[in-house]
Symmetry: C2
Subunit: 353 residues, 2 copies
Amino acid sequence: MQKTFNDVLYLESGRMISPVTIAYETYGKLSSKKNNAILLCHALTGSARVAGTKDNPGWWEPMVGAGKAFDTDRYFVICSNILGSCYGTTGPSSIDPYTGEPYALRFPVITVKDMVVLQKRLIEYLGIERLYCVAGSSLGGMQALSWAVTFPEMTARMIAISTARNITPMAIAFNTVARYAITKDPFFCDGNYYGKTPPNNGLAIGRMAGHITYLSDAAFNRKFGRRYATFEGIYDFNGFFEVENYLRYNGYKFTDRFDANSYLYLLKAMDIFDIEYGYSSFEAAMARITAKALFITFTSDTLFPEYQTADLVNMMKKINNPPVWARVESDYGHDSFLLEFDKQTEHIREFLG
Amino acid sequence: MQKTFNDVLYLESGRMISPVTIAYETYGKLSSKKNNAILLCHALTGSARVAGTKDNPGWWEPMVGAGKAFDTDRYFVICSNILGSCYGTTGPSSIDPYTGEPYALRFPVITVKDMVVLQKRLIEYLGIERLYCVAGSSLGGMQALSWAVTFPEMTARMIAISTARNITPMAIAFNTVARYAITKDPFFCDGNYYGKTPPNNGLAIGRMAGHITYLSDAAFNRKFGRRYATFEGIYDFNGFFEVENYLRYNGYKFTDRFDANSYLYLLKAMDIFDIEYGYSSFEAAMARITAKALFITFTSDTLFPEYQTADLVNMMKKINNPPVWARVESDYGHDSFLLEFDKQTEHIREFLG
C-alpha cells in the first residue's frame, strides 16, 4: 500500500520535501483499543514487505506471522519502506515536482530521524497513538532507537538488534569504497542516469564491499573455504574462487533491484546517524527513552561490534532504565539477524510478553 | 641495481619468461665465507629499497641498518623487487620481446614460488650458496616460507611475519573488490592502457579496500574516530568524514606509484598461494623445512589472523622442527609490521643470535 502526504516534510537538514509518499504493509489486525501495533523497521536495502507468502517470502518471513516472534494473531504489524529508498517511498528516483524529472542528486540528504518522522505520520494516519513496540536490526535498529528517543510517548517498547548509537569509522570506510565505486562509474553521470544505462558496475562493486561486512571470517571459511570455481585452473588470469563468484553474483543481482542513488543516500544516512545529534549529550538523548528496551547482538558481528551495544546498555542503566541485552553466540557475522531466527524468536517472545 | 637473465624462467604454470630482469639493492658487506647474507622479501607493493637515507627512507628503514634488527655491520642484506611488480623487475608493464609492446595481460599468471625461483637466481649470481636468513612479512612472509620449503638446503633461517600458508576467503573477497574496481574501469581497456590514461579510479578504489584490511577496528577508532572533515556540514551530499579523506588520499596517491596490471597479478599470486601446492599434503610440504624458524604475529591482524600462524607453528612442531612464535600485542592490525619496530627488533635480534 502507499499513502501520499501533501504537507511539507521538514528534514533535519532544514530542507523540505512535498509531496511525500510512503509505501507500507500491514499484517494482523489492529485491536479496537489500537494498542497492539508493532512497527518493524527494515535495514539498508529492505522493503515494506517484511512477510509474504510461502512461495514469495518477505525479508524477515520466519519472524513475522501467526505464532511467530511477531505474532500476527496477537499484533498488528506494520512495516514501511524508508525515506530515500526505492520501493515505493519517496527517494532520489521519485519525480521532483519542481522539475518533473527524478530528483537524482537534487534529493536532500536525509537522516534516520527523517525516516522516523515520516513513519510517525503513517502511524498517526493509521489512527495509532502509541506503538506497542518498535523493532529493527542494523539501520532498522537505528530507527527503533531514534523512535524511542524522538517520540518516547509513542514508543512503549523498543527492540534494537545489531545496531549502535553511530557506526564505526571502519564501517564508514566500507561505505566509502561503495561511494567511490558508484560515483566514479562513467554511467553514474552525476546521478542523472534515469532512463539511461545505470552505473551497474559501480553499484555491484559497492555491494561486494558491503557483503564482506555482512559475513564473518568464520562464515567465509565455512561457506566458501578456498574452493576454486573455474574452468581453466588456478593459473588462468580470469579464474576465480567460489567466494569471488558469490560476490560477483550477489553484487550484480543487487543492481536489478536497487537504485544506485538510493544506495548512496541510505549509506549517507547511516554514516551521519548519531543518536546524540540534536541533544546536548549522548546521556541527554538516551535519558529521553521511556520504552522498555531489548537489545540483541551476535558475537561475530564486526560491522556493529558488541561493544557498541554495551555503550547503549550501560547508558540505559545509568539513566535508570535498565534494558534486556541478549547476546547470541553465532559466527554468521552481521547477517546473523537474517539467519538466527530461533534464538531471536525466543528472546523477542519473552520480551513482548 | 638490476640484473637481466637471458635463460628462460620456467613458471609453475608451465609458461616461460625470457629475458627476465630483477631489480635489487644490497646493504652491508658479504663476508669472505659468504655466510652472512640475509634476503628480505617485500610485501604486496614494496620495492627493493628496504632501506634508504634519512631524507628518503626505505620501506623498512627502522629495521635495516647499522645496529638495527637486520644489522648491516654484521649481515649482507639483499632485497629484490618481486616478479610481476613494477619497480624494475619484469612484470606486466615490461616489454614483451615477442611483440615489442608491454606484456599487459599477456603476462603469465605468476606465483610466490616463481618469485622465489627468480630470487634464487639472483642469490646464486651473487655467489651465495646458503642464506643466513630469509625474512618477510605478509606476501613477503609467504616468500620466506616458500624459500624454506622449496630450497631448504639454501635457507638456514626463516622469519615469517604476519603471514599464512594461504590467505583466507575473506582476504580473497577484498582482493575481488579491487579486481572488479580495476577491470571495470573504462580506462582499463583489457589491460592495454600503457601510454594512455591508466585506470586510476579503479586502482584507487581497489587500494581503498586494501587499506581497510591493513588497519583494525581499534586503529580506525583511534586514528579517525567520527571526525568530520568537510566544509559544508553533515547534510552536504559531498561532505565526508576524515576516514574517507584518508582513503581517498591514499587510494589516489597509490596510482602515482603503482601499475594496475602489476596490482592484479600480485593479488592473484597472493590468492592462489598455498604452501602445500605441488606437494602431497601440507605436512609433506612443511616437512621439507630444515631452517630454524621465527614467526611473528600481531594480535589485531584480521587479514592474516593469528590462527593461521598457529597452523604453521603446530605443523612445524609435529614435524619435529619447533619454531619460535612471538605473539606481539598490538592494535595496529595488519599494518603492525610497518609500525611495531621495537618489538620486532627485539625478537629478530634474539633469533638471529
